[in-house]
Symmetry: C2
Subunit: 185 residues, 2 copies
C-alpha cells in the first residue's frame, strides 16, 4: 500500500516466505519480487541477507512477547492458560512458522531465537501451573507434554492426518495440564 517501504515490510514479507517455503525461501530476490520491488531497494534497507533473516526473526519474537504481555494482563491464572491455548491452537500460520524454524534450528541465528522463544513460552506456562499450586516437577513435565503436544498437533495438521483442530483439543490440553476443562468465567 505504502509507496515507500520500511524494514518492517521486508520482515513481514520474509516471514510469509518462511512460512511458505522454509528458511531457504527467505532469499533477497524472491522476497523483492513479492514486494514488487528490486534488489536495489533491499540493499538500501539491509546490509545483506543475514540482516533480513535477523529482522524477520526479531519481528516474530516480538509478536510472541506481545501475546505474552497481553496474557499477563489477565488476573486469573486459569484464564491466562486457556486464552494462551486458544491463541496457540487458533493461529495456524504461527504454528507453521514455529515448525519451520524448529526444523532449521541448526542455523545459529534461528537456533538462538527459537530457544529463547520456546523457553519463554514454557516458563510462562510453568509459572501459571506453579501459581495454581502444582509441584515444580509435575508442572515441568506437564508443560513439556502440552507444548510438545501442541507442536506435534501442528505437524499432524500439516500432513493432513488430523483434518482439523477440534475445539475439544483445548479442553484435552487443559486436562493434561491438570486444569478445569471449561472456562470458569
Amino acid at each position: 500500500m505504502a509507496e515507500r517501504l520500511g524494514p518492517d515490510d521486508w520482515a513481514r514479507a520474509a516471514l510469509a516466505a518462511l512460512a511458505e517455503g522454509g528458511l531457504g525461501a527467505v532469499a533477497v530476490e524472491p522476497v523483492a519480487v513479492r514486494l514488487g520491488v528490486s534488489k536495489g531497494s533491499f540493499y538500501w534497507h539491509f546490509a545483506n541477507r543475514r540482516a533480513l533473516v535477523e529482522a524477520a526473526l526479531a519481528y516474530w519474537e516480538a509478536g510472541t512477547e506481545r501475546v505474552i504481555a497481553r496474557l499477563e494482563s489477565l488476573d486469573e491464572p486459569v484464564a491466562r492458560m486457556r486464552t494462551l491455548l486458544d491463541l496457540a491452537f487458533g493461529d495456524a500460520e504461527n504454528a507453521a512458522i514455529s515448525f519451520r524454524l524448529i526444523s532449521e534450528v541448526d542455523d545459529p541465528l534461528v537456533g538462538a531465537v527459537v530457544r529463547r522463544v520456546s523457553r519463554r513460552r514454557l516458563e510462562f506456562m510453568q509459572e501459571v501451573l506453579r501459581e495454581l499450586g502444582q509441584p515444580e516437577e509435575e508442572a515441568r513435565r506437564r508443560v513439556l507434554a502440552a507444548y510438545g503436544g501442541y507442536l506435534g498437533l501442528a505437524a499432524l495438521v500439516r500432513i493432513g492426518a488430523a483434518d482439523e483442530v477440534p475445539g475439544s483439543l483445548v479442553d484435552l490440553a487443559m486436562a493434561e495440564l491438570g486444569l478445569p476443562p471449561a472456562a470458569s468465567s
Copy 2:
C-alpha cells in the same frame, strides 16, 4: 567401504544429508563429496536430482515397513505397542528425518511419502488399540494424541528444551493410550 557404489549408497548418503541440512541439502555435488566421488558417478546411477530424492524417500519408507513387519511378529498387542514406542523414542535420527520431511511436506514427492508413512503408522497403532477392545473413536483420538506427542517431543529435544528423553515418557505415552505402563513380562 565398497570401491564401487550402488544406488542404495546414494540413498543412504542422501538421507544423512537430509537429516543434517534438510531437503535443500540433498544436492548432487555435496552428496557426491560426502561419498568421496564426483558428479560423474551420480549421473551414471541416477537420471537427475529428483530421482535421488525419490530413492532416499523410498529407502526411508522401506525402513518404516521393516519396523512394522518386525513388530507384527509379536503376538501380544501391548508388547507390540511398547516395542514401537521404545523404537520410536529411541531413534533420534529417524525422528529428525521425520521432522525434516514433515516441514517440507509441500513438496509433492515428500508429501506423498510422508502422508503414506504417517497413515501407516497411525493405522498400525489404532489396530493395536482396537484389538485391545477400545472403541474406534477413542482409539483414533488417543493415537493422534500419542503420535502428535511423539513428533512434538522430537521437536523439543531438537531445540534443547527437553534435555533428553526420560524413559518415563514411554510410560506416559502408554498411559495416554490407555495401556498398562510397565512391560507385561
